[in-house]
């Protein structure tokens, strides 16, 4: 049994967090258990469901497929980090409410990260591009249609804001 602890220093939602972790601790377990950032959900723990998606250096990745020790020196954004600085919901989050883009909510943090990742690089995506971007995230409630609509609505709202 390896009891070795590794020093890590990771920027999480804009705040530098220092810790000592065993190598086998997954990034998602560290976020949830040690930092109490329980917005990120654990689904399958082997990279299939997408519920645990977070941004690593700005790009969506599965946090169950990374060990916390690997995040050292990197920047992580969780679903908590998507909200506006005053804690109110982002345009994308609000659009999910508006279009009923969630029912049980289990997949929602992963869906938000995946679609925010898309909007960051492609502010005006086609429906096919949206479906491709959330293709790695399982939802068992909505049938995906309202999630696609949420992302479309968010893109429209952002475009209006910019005018």
């Amino acid at each position: 049994m390896s009891g070795t602890l590794h020093k890590i220093s990771i920027e999480v939602n804009g705040k530098l967090r220092n810790a000592q972790v065993p190598a086998r601790l997954s990034l998602v377990d560290w976020l949830r258990e040690d930092l109490c950032l329980t917005g990120t959900h654990i689904g399958c723990e082997h990279g299939v469901c997408g519920a645990c998606s977070v941004m690593l250096d700005g790009e969506p990745v599965r946090s169950c497929l990374m060990y916390a020790v690997q995040g050292h020196g990197h920047r992580v954004t969780t679903v908590e980090g998507l909200a506006k600085p005053d804690g109110s919901m982002s345009v994308l989050q609000d659009s999910f409410c508006e279009t009923h883009g969630l029912q049980c909510g289990y997949c929602t943090p992963g869906m938000l990260i995946a679609s925010q990742g898309l909007l960051n690089t492609n502010p005006n995506p086609t429906e096919a591009q949206i479906r491709d971007a959330i293709g790695g995230n399982l939802c068992r409630c909505t049938g995906y249609q309202q999630i696609v609509e949420a992302v479309q609505l968010a893109a429209e709202r952002k475009a209006k804001e910019a005018k």
């Binding site: 377990d29 497929l65 060990y67 020790v69 898309l118």
Partner: protein
């Protein structure tokens, strides 16, 4: 579903990787993107005593586009290669295949070399390596050696790399004919899942539309992805009409030895092999002709 305990070392250079592998040998696994290894560890299918993390080694992440070859460091991320327009212009099969590899989130983390070293017989990048005759540069404490894809893949999830060797870079040959086209296609239960069968093809034609070079292969239809250089050679000099392509695809499918599982019987996989090989060849031919 948590990995068993292991010791961890974050290597800062390739020479450090070689030293760690020399010390820990069979007990150590290299950790690249982790998109296959980490789930296998979570399911306790593998329990390495040591993980040597190669994600923070800049010299393994390079991309170099040269006249006859695209060179990628083993730890170049799949998303980086997928987005690179200069690579898409020289070796278009890479971008075409990467669109089928997992999902956005896994390609953001997964690496080119990791997928090759994992050597899943259904995986897309090993098939591209076989079809193009990619060369793998392996590094150990005692030096480097280069293996052709054909020699590199030795069986299901197995390569000829020794336990003290690290895949350092991959050379993807670029064809010089202006009128070159390629295509990748597969059938899977859901997009992003492992392919039941996958097919890749690359065709070059002359000004008259006559084939001057052809290469194609199949994944998921045996213990390793397979290329069919002898059958492809028969296409050279033809106009690649439907009957010629179907003959070649059928001949290739007949040579495959797929397995049966819950998702598909061997017979169905062999059928798919013929259909998909023909589809990939036709699509590659059309792209070559339109250039």
């Amino acid at each position: 579903m948590k990995a068993a305990p292991f010791e961890y070392a974050r290597a800062a250079s390739l020479s450090e990787v070689c030293a760690l592998l020399a010390t820990h040998g069979d007990g150590a696994k290299l950790l690249a993107g982790g998109q296959s290894l980490v789930p296998m560890m979570a399911m306790r299918l593998v329990r390495p005593a040591w993980l040597v993390d190669i994600n923070e080694i800049p010299e393994l992440k390079f991309i170099a586009v040269e006249k006859d070859v695209v060179r990628t460091g083993a730890c170049a991320r799949q998303c980086v290669v997928e987005r690179d327009d200069t690579i898409a212009a020289r070796v278009p099969l890479l971008r075409q295949a990467l669109a089928w590899v997992g999902h956005v989130q896994t390609r953001n983390r997964g690496t080119i070399g990791g997928s090759l070293a994992h050597a899943d017989p259904c995986a897309e990048l090993p098939l591209v390596a076989q079809v193009l005759g990619a060369r793998m540069l392996l590094r150990s404490g005692s030096g480097t050696r280069t293996l052709e894809a054909e020699k590199f893949f030795s069986g299901p999830m197995a390569t000829s790399a020794r336990s003290d060797e690290c895949l350092e870079e991959i050379h993807w040959p670029a064809w010089s004919w202006r009128r070159t086209g390629s295509a990748f296609t597969e059938i899977s239960v859901r997009h992003g899942d492992f392919a039941m069968v996958a097919a890749a093809a690359q065709i070059a034609v002359d000004g008259d539309g006559r084939c001057v070079r052809a290469a194609f292969g199949l994944g998921g239809a045996g213990g390793t992805p397979i290329a069919f250089p002898k059958i492809a050679a028969r296409l050279v000099g033809t106009r690649l009409d439907g009957a010629v392509v179907d003959d070649a695809a059928h001949a290739a499918a007949t040579e495959t030895e797929p397995g049966s599982d819950l998702h598909a019987s061997a017979e169905y996989r062999r059928h798919l092999a013929g259909v998909l090989a023909a589809r990939a060849l036709c699509e590659a031919r059309e792209r070559a002709r339109s250039r």
